[in-house]
């Protein structure tokens, strides 16, 4: 009998654990090689938000984010995971500063990839100015890290999705893996409905929300390179795959992204609905895409879907 290798994650548990339903810590525990997670400024340090008290709101000892380092497939990685169940994973002053410090260290080291498990509604309303600025600082830090050779990977499949400034951070990453639950957008459904009316966007129409902002659409558009089924093991494998794929960042990437996005507007700018876009892309029976099981969708996406590789 051979003992299991210590650096291998307990794949059984990771395979049977829903990424969407797991907490930020459970996601990291099962995503990384077993027992390798070391947290920076963990909850025992009680570095809480200095602002929530003003509103009489409960604080959380980690301010809703876990940052640290660990190993993935034996190699070192930096990790950050937002807790979507605390204030919708929103960015506040402390929450954002933890991710900022991690990215700055990654830039100085240059060779250790960063995995960001985004699960966020965007800016935390009660500290809106600090949260907005934290997002701006993180976007800058992501680009500085990428320019120094760091691979920054976004993993998106949490209950809060990836909204507001979180969507812009996702757009700055070297690559994204997304599950069906991983909605990515700037304005959330309720925000659009409140500002523009139910005729523009009916936030209670869940099917509309999923096909406009959900992971399948983002994968087919090429916004995300990998579609993951909703297990932590799938996200682990996606992260390993992306680390192997990402090349160096430079101006040529931004030129290619300009071309990629301009082409998207030309091809799909007049489409009224995601189903129209998928049809233009050549998906037969596009209206059935939302019901496709993950394995069939992944096969479809590899056949037809675009990628943003080298163009983001």
């Amino acid at each position: 009998m051979t003992a299991p290798l210590p650096h291998i994650a307990p794949a059984e548990r990771a395979r049977s654990t829903s990424f969407n339903e797991a907490s930020a810590r459970t996601r990291l525990d099962l995503l990384l090689d077993a027992g390798s997670l070391v947290e920076f400024i963990g909850p025992e340090q009680r570095e809480v938000s200095p602002h929530l008290e003003i509103f009489g709101l409960p604080e959380q000892f980690d301010d809703g984010i876990v940052v640290g380092h660990g190993r993935l497939g034996g190699a070192p990685v930096f990790v950050a995971a937002q807790e979507g169940r605390f204030m919708g994973g929103a960015f506040g002053e402390v929450h954002g500063a933890k991710l900022l410090g991690l990215l700055r260290a990654a830039r100085e080291i240059g060779s250790i990839p960063v995995l960001i498990l985004l699960d966020t509604g965007g800016v935390r309303l009660q500290e809106a100015n600090a949260g907005e600025l934290a997002i701006a600082e993180i976007m800058r830090a992501v680009m500085e890290a990428r320019s120094a050779g760091v691979k920054v990977i976004g993993l998106i499949g949490g209950r809060s999705g990836c909204y507001g400034g979180g969507g812009l951070i996702a757009g700055c990453c070297s690559a994204l893996a997304v599950s069906e639950a991983g909605r990515i957008a700037v304005s959330g459904p309720e925000v659009i409905e409140t500002n523009r009316g139910v005729e523009e966007f009916d936030s209670r129409d869940r099917a509309l929300v999923w096909r406009t902002m959900g992971g399948k659409h983002r994968r087919l558009l090429g916004a995300a390179d990998v579609f993951a089924d909703d297990t932590v093991q799938d996200f682990r494998e996606a992260a390993l795959e992306l680390i192997g794929l990402i090349g160096p960042f430079g101006l040529d990437r931004l030129r290619a992204e300009q071309g990629r996005l301009a082409d998207r507007l030309r091809r799909f700018g007049a489409c009224q609905d995601a189903v129209d876009i998928w049809t233009v892309e050549g998906v037969a029976h596009a209206e059935t895409v939302p019901e496709l099981p993950a394995d069939q969708f992944i096969a479809l996406a590899s056949r037809i879907g675009r990628t943003s590789r080298d163009a983001r």
């Binding site: 410090g101 309303l125 969507g167 757009g171």
Partner: protein, 240 residues
Amino acid sequence: MTLDDILASLFPDGHEVRNDNGVIAGAATLRSGGRILVIGVADRTALGVDEAIRLSAHVLESIDRGSGPILVLVDSDSQRMSKRDELLGLNEFLAHLAKVLIHADMHGRPTIGLLYGHSAAGALLATGLATRVLVGLPGASPAVMDLPSMAKVTKLSMTALEEKAKSTPVFAPGLSNLEQMGAVHMTWSDATSLADQLEALLADMPAARDRRDALGKERGGRPKAADIAERVRDLALQTR
């Protein structure tokens, strides 16, 4: 000040800056003789996919052919809130604009934002907050989140919110609050020549390193951000 007034005061020798349906693009000659690229959003226009792709194109063309600093003028709405924009991936278009500005700034094309009107949320992240130095003009009215929306979500009255805003700059709209956070580096005077103030800034540009967290600490707006970021950075560097 109106956009025309601002451009006239910034570039008394003339300029080739046009406002096309709220999208500002062009260039001007600095008093010191060099050229400056000018882009931006005017007339409180919402920043959607169509506007963002034009702005990023202007910057990329200038990176290929031009030189000198880049000025980003901002009087925008928030991001365009629509089904079409989100369907097409607005987050990628806004991030792309920010990335192009950040890249330019890191590679010899220092960026300055000039917030002269409104701005909010995703539009501010993709424009003014993606520059190295963000300057405010008196009368500018940035609002990450407006108080009526906040009242709705927090279920607090406007009066209660206004009362709380007196004791902290952390949530309420306004230029001075963003200045205390470290987001806005300085406010220029609209009573003297903007050209003088621009030349003075260009002659003494801060380094490209992002110091906004330190500014927020010095100004008392963000008591914890700079220290937390530094502590995490130190701990992470020890893993080498």
